[in-house]
């Protein structure tokens, strides 16, 4: 395992910022997150304007189950913490623990996604399809876009785990892990607004 001697030997402190390419990656990713903020912001704006237009379909208050949302929130919040632990393991150059925390993060993300799929399936059976009303369309677009981001994150971090186990931690792989961690936190931040604006505000009559 040449990766391990490399890890104990010459890997710099904060390897994600050791090269210009790494620093540029982090900066570029922040700008990308700015764009993502706009994407979700406009979806939120559409949802907020249309959420009372339910036609004959069920209302938000009738539909949402806060227990399910609370569990999903707890799962995603915990996965955000485990991805922080992954970055800390990376700073300690502990590849095994880094991969371990990334696996925990992926598993938590997948269980969140499972809950969301169950939730959507349940809603469709309640007569809340994508084309039922303006409320349902904007709801599925907003929450579905977030779910798609979670799915993308799961695939991304899984590929990173495979790459890390093959190539180890170095100045090329470290920025990738760091940026994936930022992405995962951003997903969590978007979910904070979704559970507040969509679910909790939907329950306030």
């Amino acid at each position: 395992m040449s990766a391990h001697t490399h890890v104990e030997g010459q890997l710099p402190h904060e390897p994600e910022k050791a090269t210009l390419e790494g620093r540029n990656k982090v900066l570029g990713f922040w700008l990308f997150l700015g764009g993502e903020t706009v994407l979700f912001g406009t979806l939120f704006a559409a949802y907020l304007s249309l959420r009372d237009q339910v036609l004959e379909g069920p209302t938000a208050n009738h539909l949402f189950d806060l227990m399910l949302v609370a569990i999903a929130t707890a799962i995603l919040l915990t996965s955000s913490l485990t991805s922080v632990f992954a970055i800390q393991a990376m700073h300690q150059k502990n590849v095994k623990s880094l991969i371990g925390w990334l696996i925990v993060t992926v598993v938590l993300g997948a269980s969140f996604l499972g809950l969301e799929i169950y939730e959507f399936y349940h809603y469709v059976h309640e007569g809340h399809g994508f084309t039922t009303s303006a409320f349902s369309s904007s709801f599925y677009t907003l929450v579905g876009f977030h779910g798609a981001h979670v799915l993308f994150g799961i695939v991304w971090i899984t590929l990173l785990i495979i790459q890390l186990s093959r190539k180890g931690l170095n100045v090329v792989t470290a920025p990738k892990v760091y940026v994936a961690g930022m992405y995962w936190h951003f997903i969590d931040v978007v979910w904070v607004f979704i559970f507040t604006v969509v679910y909790l505000m939907g329950k306030v009559v």
């Binding site: 922040w30 997150l33 700015g34 704006a45 707890a74 919040l77 955000s80 800390q88």
Partner: protein, 105 residues
């Protein structure tokens, strides 16, 4: 190997590797804010505007905590990162306020 070890020790002395404590505190804080938001809605006693204010307050506070601690935004060298995100936030606020107050009135 021994000299390698010494060098590693010296390095950790120069750059303190941060512990998990700060992040666990941020996590507990996030859980607490989430709990307050859920409890406010479930209790359902107080008037609507007051609930909205509490919900938006806890949401923004939680986002601030997570961005500052977990995304390292409070660390040095994040000026352009903050500008980038703030630019997005400005557009978002414009879009939301337009949709809420301009489209329907």
């Amino acid at each position: 190997m021994a000299s390698n070890h010494g060098a590693a020790e010296q390095r950790t002395k120069h750059h303190k590797v941060e512990g998990p404590k700060k992040h666990v505190v941020a996590f507990i804080f996030s859980i607490l804010l989430t709990f307050i938001a859920f409890a406010t809605v479930i209790s359902g006693e107080i008037n609507k505007d007051f609930i909205y204010v509490i919900l938006m307050g806890t949401a923004f506070l939680q986002v601030f905590v997570q961005m500052a601690f977990w995304m390292h935004m409070k660390d040095r060298g994040h000026t352009f990162a903050i500008i980038g995100i703030l630019f997005g936030v400005v557009i978002v606020f414009t879009a939301v306020i337009m949709a809420e107050y301009w489209v329907w009135w």
